[in-house]
Amino acid sequence: MTQDLLRVENLQVTFSTRHGTVTALHGIDIALKAGETLGIVGESGSGKSVTSLAVMRLLDRAGRITGGRVTFEGRDITHAGHADLRRLRGSALSMIFQNPRAALNPIRTVEQQIVDVLAAHGKLSRANARTQALDLLRAVLIRDPEARLSAYPHELSGGMCQRVMIAMAIACEPVLLIADEPTTGLDVTTQQTVMELLARIQAERGMAMILITHDLGLAARWCDRIAVMEAGRVVEQGETVALFEAPAHPYTKRLVAASPTRASTLADLAPPDLARDAPPVVAAPRERKPGTPPLLELVHVVKSFGGPTRAVDDVSFQIPRGGSLGLVGESGSGKSTLSRLICRLIDPDDGDIVFDGESIARTPAREFHLSPRRRDIQIVFQDPNDSLNPRYTAFDSIAHPLRRLEGLRDGPALQTRVREAARRAGLPMDLLERFPHQLSGGQKARVGIARAVAPRPRLLILDEPTAALDVSVQAVILQLLDRLRREDGIGLLFVSHDLNVVRMLCDDLVVLQAGKVVETGPSQSIFQRPQAAYTRMLLDAVPYFDPQRTELLKTA
């Protein structure tokens, strides 16, 4: 038997907090051979990141390894000294993080940062530092590497920052790379290229990798073995295909069920208890009476922010009453600008926005809060962590539009409305007194939705509402939105880069590229027969949950 490269035995980690110590890892066991890829999957709070930080011995001061052993290349590093660890990190063990932009030093150029890593491990020959840095950038397939050497992180896109991070991580030829959600927050197309790059580098250098992700599709596609974590325990571990084909643990089963495959519908993703509550899927009565205007109509809308290109360039589409439209594109395609235009937070340069037969583009955004249409159009923001006022409790956040738009004062009426909105968003009532930092991501997303539905809007704009959420939470939120539409007849504008999610929720689709509409039509038909090359590219990049890896076999 070949020796394991990394072996984690019965590892326990506790954090000391204001309310005593909290156990983050309850004794986990993981082993990894040289050149192997292990996926650690699980939802937020399951201890995936703590595991990797404990292995790297990068836990912050509150965290402590209280038991177990970490063996790397046959050496116990559980209690290794700082000097030893510094030698190991970077040169033998390396790590890349989520949000590469935050992980790079904003005031140093790419070249300087790569050279720093090389110098720290004495791998630098002063004479050809630049050549070495350049070789690394070439290895991560950055376009125009000579020019990128002198670039600062803010001049690079998210995908390029992640490539630079990878270049730094592999600079000293580590034998083990830990990638903590390396593609979360990147566009689907970028996600794919970054993962392909990691796999290639790994194969070339015989490096072992631990891929930490909440995306089962990603794990299934790229990992040899998978460890499923829940609440600080590894609940199941095994070969990827075998594990996902026949998940044994109920938690794994739930995760697998919640991960959208190429063919899944919203009902498939349901946790059993919720599916029972949900009324039978009956399409809302949406046949339009002749003469009734659509709920929303965009007519040749144009917006530019002063740059040479237009952020939104001549966009027209309609959403029927109670209809749902998906707006799809990569970052920079103008979809967020468009959602803010429709929500009347910013003014269009040209064109018209017609809501229920009434032009709302004439009221400047500055005065739109006085418009009676304000409460009809509400928005749920992308990042639930950033969309709640830190000084408001959940109750205050949900009450905010009611106080402002309906003039409700503190009292039973406000209480009732807030509770009603919370109930519709599936938010437990006992969480209403909490501040945002005391809520989980999924709970914050629900507060955001409750706030948006509280004034009983007729159009709900959803700006990537599930991008930052775990799959099981995503499934629940999607069903919730679908129910709001069916039961209350709220029109939905769903902005996303994830075509698969959009397909499940939306009747119609608008594909945006660089501010222009590339393709529009019913989502099922676009999905089956994409016309534009760009749409096909987006579709190809979606990481389906595909345990048999049919995709991979086809390309191999």
Binding site: R374, R375, F381, P390, T393, A399, H400, R404, R451
Partner: protein
């Protein structure tokens, strides 16, 4: 903002937690509280009339009948210190509130709007800060007239730039946050976004500044009085007391200067130490 449905006991528990985990803050808070009580209860606490002279008793060193000694006119120094706490606190608190409120509002709007307004205000602040601030305050009091209100105004004006800059920077980093846009979708105008959404979020960070500033403001008022501007002779005020006592220090009558100086020092120290604790109390994120 008080429309929080937060139960009072949770806030109370939080304050107790902050004070208990940070004894220095607790000490400073106690000191400040004591100071405020002394100022309020001055008529009750002061053993003698602070302005009544009693020349036969002049320049007595500290004794049981005059705990802090007497000055050149035989006035009881302790009583004067106690009465002066009143005046000095009123000057400091009103000057700081004035500059805090105006500075936060101006800075908040600049940070939120950006653009031309922001540039003009920014340059104005730069100009203001280029003056030696104490000299500016002297000039203002001299020009406006030797009155307590003018000390307050002068102190407020020289502190204003710090608040403008601070509020501007803090609002600027938050203006693109999702919850700011969300507030607009909830029906807030730009004005109410700044006043009711952004500024309350900046408050915890500004609390540190406010607290430090109270100390400076007291020193500033005392300094102006010391050089003969602002509060005038018989009125008990720490700066004047130090100024008057300074003449006698060479003859070994140390208590005339040391006693009010000590009061001044302790007060400023309390305010300075209070800052961090105040931030922790005001920031809901510290309640975990």
């Amino acid at each position: 903002m008080s429309d929080l449905v937060l139960n009072g006991s949770s806030t109370g528990r939080h304050i107790v937690y902050v004070l208990r985990s940070n004894p220095v803050t607790a000490l400073a808070a106690t000191g400040t509280l004591l100071l405020v009580l002394i100022a309020i209860l001055a008529p009750v606490l002061a053993p003698y009339d602070p302005v009544a002279s009693n020349v036969p008793q002049a320049l007595q060193p500290p004794s049981w009948s005059h705990l802090a000694g007497t000055d050149q006119l035989g006035r009881d120094i302790l009583s004067r210190i106690i009465w002066a706490a009143r005046l000095d606190l009123v000057i400091a608190v009103s000057a700081v509130s004035l500059s805090f409120v105006t500075g936060a509002v101006i800075g908040g709007f600049c940070g939120y709007r950006g653009g031309r307004l922001d540039r003009w205000v920014g340059r104005f602040v730069d100009v203001l800060m280029a003056f030696p601030l104490f000299v500016l305050a002297m000039a203002m009091v001299a020009a406006l007239g030797n009155r307590v209100e003018n000390i307050v105004i002068a102190t407020a004006v020289i502190n204003l730039p710090f608040y403008i800059r601070f509020a501007r920077a803090e609002v600027n980093v938050r203006r693109n946050a999702g919850w700011v846009e969300a507030a607009r979708a909830c029906g807030d105008s730009h004005l109410s976004v700044v006043l009711r959404v952004l500024l309350p979020n900046v408050l915890p960070a500004m609390a540190v500044q406010i607290s430090l500033n109270l100390g400076w403001a007291i020193l500033n008022a005392a300094g102006l009085s010391f050089i003969g501007l602002g509060v005038t002779a018989p009125t008990p005020e720490w700066g004047i007391m130090v100024a008057e006592g300074a003449r006698f220090i060479t003859t070994g009558k140390w208590w005339l200067v040391a006693m009010p100086g000590l009061a001044l020092m302790l007060t400023v120290l309390c305010f300075n130490l209070l800052g961090d604790g105040l931030r922790d109390i005001l920031d809901p994120r510290m309640r975990t």
